[in-house]
Symmetry: C2
Subunit: 332 residues, 2 copies
DNA sequence: TAAAGGAGTAAAAACGTTTTGCGTAAATTT
DNA sequence: AAATTTACGCAAAACGTTTTTACTCCTTTA
């Protein structure tokens, strides 16, 4: 309602010049204690808050870091964002967050939006290569970009080690005495699925085990796990250890096995991925892997800050380990 | 790296004045087709993006709406934010999002931050009355505020109808033939819990049923549901319908009942709240209520926009109904 | 005691846009 | 053919800060 209070109003009220108000507030030049007090009193009583726009006109740095993210309701996104907030807290930068970026077109708009706000760096947080659709030459982008969660060529990337997760899953099942492993995959086009599969099958081979050639691709959901478990046990009844691409699939898989009369874990052991909330209290608590999502956010910020301040950063791929959380579904 | 491209650079490259560049881009004044093309070409080749700060110096309106939210990893927060994004998409406003606001102190900092950015309105998205801690006189705030999710005195509020949810839960259980209802509550200090309880017990009374005086307050989690179910059935073995304050509790409750030898739903029916992802595929799929979270976000935006443009908005409390989702846990 | 330095402040320039005022040429009307 | 409008474009002012320059006192220092 009321017209915005400017530095001039404060100056007038305190009986000083605008320059003195700035100096009193920012401390770039000495100001006498008496004057400072008068200025602060005026600021308080008028409710003056400096205009960000005006103040950022001068200094080249905006103090803003942008974040371009996929659907915020996705756990992986909001966990990473949480980490980003943590990494930023206490520092000088504030976050400009744009989510719901699902197409290259959204991305282009959002990128220009951030650029118009003079962000000093961008955190890209996605699970799809939409950056490709948007033909921005990221190499020549004058804004440093760090991709969190996805290995994006040409960008510094912070990614979870899905491969080693799969590797460890095989290792774990083998250690439990299982010799006939199988995997129920999720969507074939997801890189995370491919990595988990690759790690799993490579360790399976190393340990001289055999697994079905069928990958049981499908949704990342309960129903797929349920149905795939049925098919799998029908075709490969000797199977004694199943690695599922995520916990939804694992939950469905366990339910499917139980429905068929198998007992988990005594007859078949199941391992999931992602450590969803229900996994800990599922009717057979699910052995799973926890992704270092928050840590990825924190690290992303730290790297980005470094790039911003030094102008370059050598290592372009940072891999964080996921953590095995053993629960009853694979207990010996 | 490279120095920022300004409107002057574009003007020079296109051989026109800066004013013409603006007009070509914003269309406030007619520009000849030929000139426009030359300008756009220059913009493209130089990668010019207008400085938001500079352009917002003139026009009083920033075009930004702020959102102050609790922990973004909370489902209710990210769902509402998703709704807000939807409500904003296609419009003229962009979103400035600050989450992780957990104390009055955070709030004060964030509020000033938004104010310095000249946001035109604020969406407050929380489940705790932290606004009280922060002694801002919201009545006199020159920035319009809409509180989404919580009934905040002195603010326009958009809230889910937890009371009617509870009411309908009692109705539903009664309709299934149940006559000895009980409720397992969550944290006593949550307004949502109190509302759900109040609605439930008022309908219980209206229908001349009786319920235990004990409220079984506790965590919003599985373990609490499990343990409370045990206590409840021990003390009130005639109980045939249990309303749980949320789905985590309901899941634990069902598991507890099964462990004790009760069958769900044939012996005891269970109703939860919040429609968590696992509820649909829990070993007995859980009857629950879906909160209109996204709708709340959308409505919040729409109201805020209205307040911004008209300067006032009469109705200060908007209640959106939650929706009963009947599943097997209460099937007759 | 004169020169040098420092503290405190004001005035003015600058940041990169948009808006306003004005001028010119072309198109339309009378 | 004269008068009026319209299309187009430039120059300059304005937005609200911060930064730079400069000036005045008041201390030090030699």
């Amino acid at each position: 309602m009321g017209d915005p209070v400017t530095i001039m109003d404060v100056a007038k009220a305190a009986g000083v010049s605008p320059a003195t108000v700035t100096h009193a507030l920012n401390g770039k030049r000495p100001v006498s204690e008496m004057t400072r007090k008068r200025v602060l009193a005026a600021v308080e009583s008028l409710g003056y808050v400096p205009s960000w726009n005006a103040s950022r006109m001068k200094s080249r740095s905006s103090g803003i870091i942008g974040c371009l993210a996929a659907d915020i309701t996705e756990t992986f996104v909001n966990q990473i964002v949480r980490g980003i907030e943590q990494g930023l807290s206490g520092g000088q930068h504030s976050l400009f967050f744009v989510s719901g970026i699902e197409f290259g077109n959204d991305l282009k708009k959002a990128y220009h939006f951030l650029k118009s706000h003079k962000v000093e760096g961008i955190l890209f947080c996605h699970h799809l290569p939409i950056w490709k659709e948007f033909n921005l030459d990221t190499q020549n982008s004058d804004i440093p970009i760090v991709s969190v969660n996805m290995d994006t060529p040409g960008m510094i990337s912070v990614i979870p080690d899905n491969t080693t997760g799969g590797y460890q899953a095989a290792e774990h099942l083998y250690g439990c005495g299982m010799r006939y492993p199988a995997m129920i995959c999720g969507p074939e086009d997801r890189l995370s699925v491919q990595d988990r599969l690759q790690g799993f099958s490579s360790r399976v081979t190393e340990l001289h085990m055999q697994m079905p050639t069928l990958r049981y691709y499908g949704g990342y959901d309960y129903d797929h796990g349920f149905e795939a478990a049925n098919e799998l046990m029908r075709d490969y009844p000797e199977t004694d250890g199943i690695f599922c691409a995520n916990d939804y699939i694992a939950a469905g898989c366990i339910a499917g096995l139980q429905k068929m009369g198998y007992e988990v874990p005594s007859q078949v052991r199941v391992v999931g991925f992602d450590n969803r909330d229900f996994s800990s209290f599922w009717n057979v608590p699910i052995t799973t892997f926890e992704l270092p999502l928050q840590e990825m956010g924190i690290l992303g910020v730290s790297i980005l800050k470094q790039v911003i301040s030094t102008g370059s950063y050598a290592k372009t791929k940072h891999v964080l380990q996921s953590k095995l959380i053993p629960r009853q579904s694979s207990r010996g």
